[in-house]
């Protein structure tokens, strides 16, 4: 009876952002499909109404099926039977419901049986699914792979593979190997072209592959013999119908236990090249990863939503010393901080999704006709924002998700340590979010360029210029002060002109930018809806204190101090 979309008005608030008008118009090419497909929107209002109604379906399935299944799925997990991954019973039920509802190709064009939705409502669906079961979203969310096929594969490949995914077949992205994790340039899986059959064959091992036994897999492989870096890698599609891959094992993980994490052995597995040779890592994986990072942002936000709700429920129900524990400052402070981080993460999630939406829509349009000069500039503008906001989102929201789950469990006290409450599972599920699809440390490396090139600063200045009601001006003054302090800290680090010194302080600087960006996002949310005022107040004051401590640390840190940080590992070596 629960509906995870309708019971959370914040989602509708973000769906109805003013920029959606532009996004929908670009995505629907001025509603050209209206006469060709009976489910295509007539106009902007019709499209928005459809997003809302389809998200209601997602919310209902998640509330009535996915969330109630989560506990059993966590306990049961997937297994291998006859070299085939069999999902937990609940996982299969979840998947069947979402397939029946036609929610497997949400962003794909209608010609491939997709719904042609923008990224924003798709991300929102992922947010909702993650709240219900953060492990399950990995399987459902791999429809991202279809988006990459849609961007880079040939027309023939698109026609053969995309409708399969849109109609319910699952996907996988096979990147990681035992010796190629964060450093994908080291990928070894061999792709050999056979002149006789005019086909590519894959040989080697992939590890930690989510849903590795999916129907359609995108595989990163070394197509250029004798090379050892990223330029020798290409992207391939492997179709499970070939039955040429062995699932050697399913990992026994700490969390997201319903999601099968596989070790795969490719043995003369026939595969198809996607796009151009040698562009596998440089171009296609980057696109795939950016989509996946946005997905982890959604997963983090949805999971944090679930954990926050568990905490509020428990704090209201649990009575100690004669009153509900929510009445104690130590508890309500935790809750307010959790809520402010949750609201900030969600606002950043949809801001980033909108940037991705605009530039991707332009990118697809550019394959149909040439863009005007203004359109090209507009696309570049949003692409650049998306490039820096995506790692910022992934890094910040996943860290916040972990903090929120930790605090939620803390509020539960001893009960939260037991399997009796869902927070125990959520806490375990959260842990992976700062690790996979690039650790937080790697997100910092991607985002730091937004600091050094002043891209974040430029956007912060734009937020500063946006109209605000008079009663909110005091928050803006705080944010302007934080911006000055941030600029000083950046200058101090950059002026040292030493890359190791920059790397050392990179996370501090990215987080400082993040606190300002999210402060502004919350402030402008409050401009549109006063309900965000509490989170804005809590977040901006917290962010100011956090930034001060970072600025202070940087101001009092000389390059020579780095020496104190290099551990003498001889003491711990066995």
């Amino acid at each position: 009876m629960a509906n995870f979309f309708k019971d959370n008005p914040d989602l509708l608030f973000h769906l109805k952002h003013p920029l959606m008008k532009k996004i929908v118009s670009l995505k629907e090419r001025d509603f050209q499909d209206r006469d060709n497909y009976d489910y295509a929107p007539m106009d902007f209002e019709d499209a928005m109404d459809s997003y809302e109604k389809v998200l209601e379906i997602v919310g209902e399935i998640c509330g009535d099926i996915v969330a109630p299944n989560a506990e059993d799925v966590d306990a049961e997990g997937p297994k291998i039977v006859n070299n085939e991954v069999i999902y937990a019973k609940g996982t299969q039920e979840n998947l069947d419901a979402l397939v029946k509802a036609g929610l497997m190709g949400i962003t794909l064009p209608r010609q491939y049986d997709g719904l042609n939705f923008p990224i924003v409502p798709y991300t929102m669906a992922a947010d909702i699914v993650s709240r219900a079961d953060a492990g399950f979203v990995n399987i459902w969310g791999l429809q991202d792979c279809a988006e990459t096929i849609n961007e880079f594969a040939s027309e023939d490949q698109k026609e053969r593979f995309l409708p399969r995914i849109a109609n319910g077949q699952t996907a996988a992205m096979d990147l990681t190997e035992p010796d190629a994790g964060s450093d994908l340039q080291a990928v070894q899986l061999k792709a050999t072209y056979d002149e006789g059959s005019k086909k590519w064959y894959l040989n080697g091992v992939k590890r930690f592959i989510t849903n590795g036994d999916g129907n359609v897999s995108l595989v990163l492989a070394r197509s250029e013999a004798g090379t050892s870096d990223g330029r020798g890698l290409s992207m391939f599609i492997y179709d499970r119908d070939h039955k040429a891959v062995k699932v050697r094992r399913i990992e026994n993980k700490m969390g997201i236990k319903g999601s099968p994490t596989c070790e795969l052995v490719f043995k003369d597995a026939p595969a198809e090249l996607v796009g151009n040779r040698k562009m596998g890592l440089i171009k296609y994986v980057m696109a795939l990863m950016n989509g996946a990072r946005l997905g982890i942002g959604a997963q983090s936000v949805g999971l944090a939503e679930g954990a926050y709700r568990e905490a509020v429920d428990y704090a209201n129900e649990r009575k100690q010393f004669g009153k509900a524990i929510i009445e104690f400052p130590a508890v309500y402070e935790l809750l307010a901080n959790m809520k402010s981080k949750l609201d900030a993460s969600r606002s950043l999630l949809y801001e980033t999704s909108r940037f991705v939406d605009v530039y991707k829509a332009y990118m697809h349009i550019s394959s149909e006709r040439s863009l005007s000069k203004e359109e090209r500039a507009d696309m570049k503008y949003y692409q650049r924002l998306a490039d820096f906001f995506t790692p910022l989102l992934k890094g910040m929201s996943s860290e916040y998700c972990n903090q929120i789950c930790y605090d939620s469990q803390q509020i539960h006290g001893g009960s939260g340590f037991m399997k009796d409450y869902p927070i125990e599972r959520m806490y375990r599920d959260a842990r992976i979010t700062t690790i996979y699809e690039g650790t937080t440390q790697l997100q910092v490396i991607a985002a730091i360029r937004g600091v050094t090139t002043n891209a974040f600063l430029k956007r912060i200045r734009e937020y500063e210029e946006m109209p605000l009601k008079p009663e909110l001006h005091s928050y803006r003054r705080i944010l302007i002060g934080m911006t000055e302090e941030y600029e000083k800290a950046v200058k101090r680090v950059v002026d040292v002109d030493n890359s190791e010194y920059l790397d050392f302080h990179a996370r501090r600087l990215v987080e400082m930018a993040g606190h300002i960006v999210m402060g502004y996002l919350l402030l402008h949310d409050t401009e549109r809806n006063a309900k965000f005022r509490m989170s804005t107040d809590v977040y901006i004051k917290h962010g100011r204190a956090e930034n001060r401590s970072r600025a202070d640390y940087i101001a009092n840190f000389d390059i020579d101090d780095l020496g104190y940080f290099k551990p003498d590992s001889s003491e711990v070596e066995k």
């Binding site: 009976d38 489910y39 929107p41 389809v54 379906i57 419901a97 509802a101 036609g102």
Partner: protein, 290 residues
């Protein structure tokens, strides 16, 4: 050859989520305070119909509901899940119908649809809990009936094979077509709304609902006839007016009283798995749980 299937569905107040303002002071149901929903067991019936449609190509599923204008929502909910079309039977003349008058009106509407193979309905509605309308429709139409159905195995070669859920187990029965099947709540839940069907049919309306629509919308319905939900009044079906509405309803409510449960009846359970299972089943069946 496909089947022609009619699903009888009712819009009911959601009595499963009763708040303190659910009843009026005079002891009648406060319909305004309760959300109007698709009767749950009618959903189970719809699922059985949709499964038959998938199994037998060329089959057609038509929803039939009787109620006020807003019951058109029931037809749309069916269309979103895979029904082909629907009929809303609505008229002041039907107001005040008890189960007898309701089943009479419904059977008249089915007669108008003609050549129906299977009529499926939920076992009972959660507002009245009578379980009478399905069987009475069968009786009025002189058709065989299968009640408490949990699964329709097949419907071919002039006969239907059905699994029935009974108190002490299940039985498999066969009946000649055409026939009426009433489906139990223990049957598989109905599938979710499908995104594409929802977008296709969300603009479907009855003629009454179209009254205040713009010209743009009317043109759209002209181009897309499937957006028209059939609305039948008493003039569209052949009926004997004396058998309709209040005059056709012998049921008279004599008195309604509030019943306060008192724990007089006790039952001793042992702590073995079987007894606990039984208890849980009983609590679910009587809606104490779930």
């Amino acid at each position: 050859m496909g089947l022609k299937i009619i699903v009888l569905a009712k819009q009911v107040p959601d009595t499963r989520n009763v708040g303190k303002d659910a009843m009026k002071a005079d002891g009648t149901v406060n319909r305004a305070a309760l959300e109007a929903i698709f009767n749950p067991e009618d959903m189970n019936a719809l699922e059985q119909a949709l499964r038959l449609k998938e199994k037998y190509k060329g089959s057609k599923v038509t929803l039939l509901t009787m109620g006020p204008g807003r019951a058109a929502d029931i037809i749309r909910e069916g269309l979103f899940r895979g029904a082909d079309d629907g009929v809303l039977l609505t008229d002041r003349a039907f107001a005040g119908s008890d189960t007898l008058a309701t089943s009479y009106a419904i059977s008249c509407a089915i007669n108008k649809i003609k050549e129906v193979d299977i009529i499926v309905a939920g076992r009972q509605a959660i507002d009245g809990d009578t379980a009478q309308v399905g069987p009475q429709v069968a009786d009025k139409m002189n058709l065989p009936q299968v009640t408490y159905a949990e699964e329709i195995y097949s419907a071919e070669k002039g006969k239907i094979v059905v699994k029935r859920r009974l108190d002490r187990g299940v039985e498999k029965v066969e009946a000649p077509l055409p026939c009426v099947v009433t489906v139990n709540g223990s049957a598989p839940a109905c599938r979710p709304r499908a995104a594409k069907l929802l977008m296709k049919y969300k603009h479907a309306k009855t003629i009454s609902e179209r009254q205040n629509e713009s010209e743009d919308y009317l043109n759209l319905v002209n181009d897309r006839p499937y957006l028209n939900i059939n609305e039948w009044t008493v003039n569209d079906v052949e009926t004997d007016d004396n058998m309709l509405g209040l005059s056709g309803s012998p049921t008279k409510v004599k008195k309604i009283e509030n019943v306060v449960f008192q724990a007089k009846e006790t039952k001793v359970l042992s702590d073995n798995e079987g007894d606990i299972d039984e208890l849980i089943k009983e609590l679910i069946d009587n809606h104490t749980l779930g």
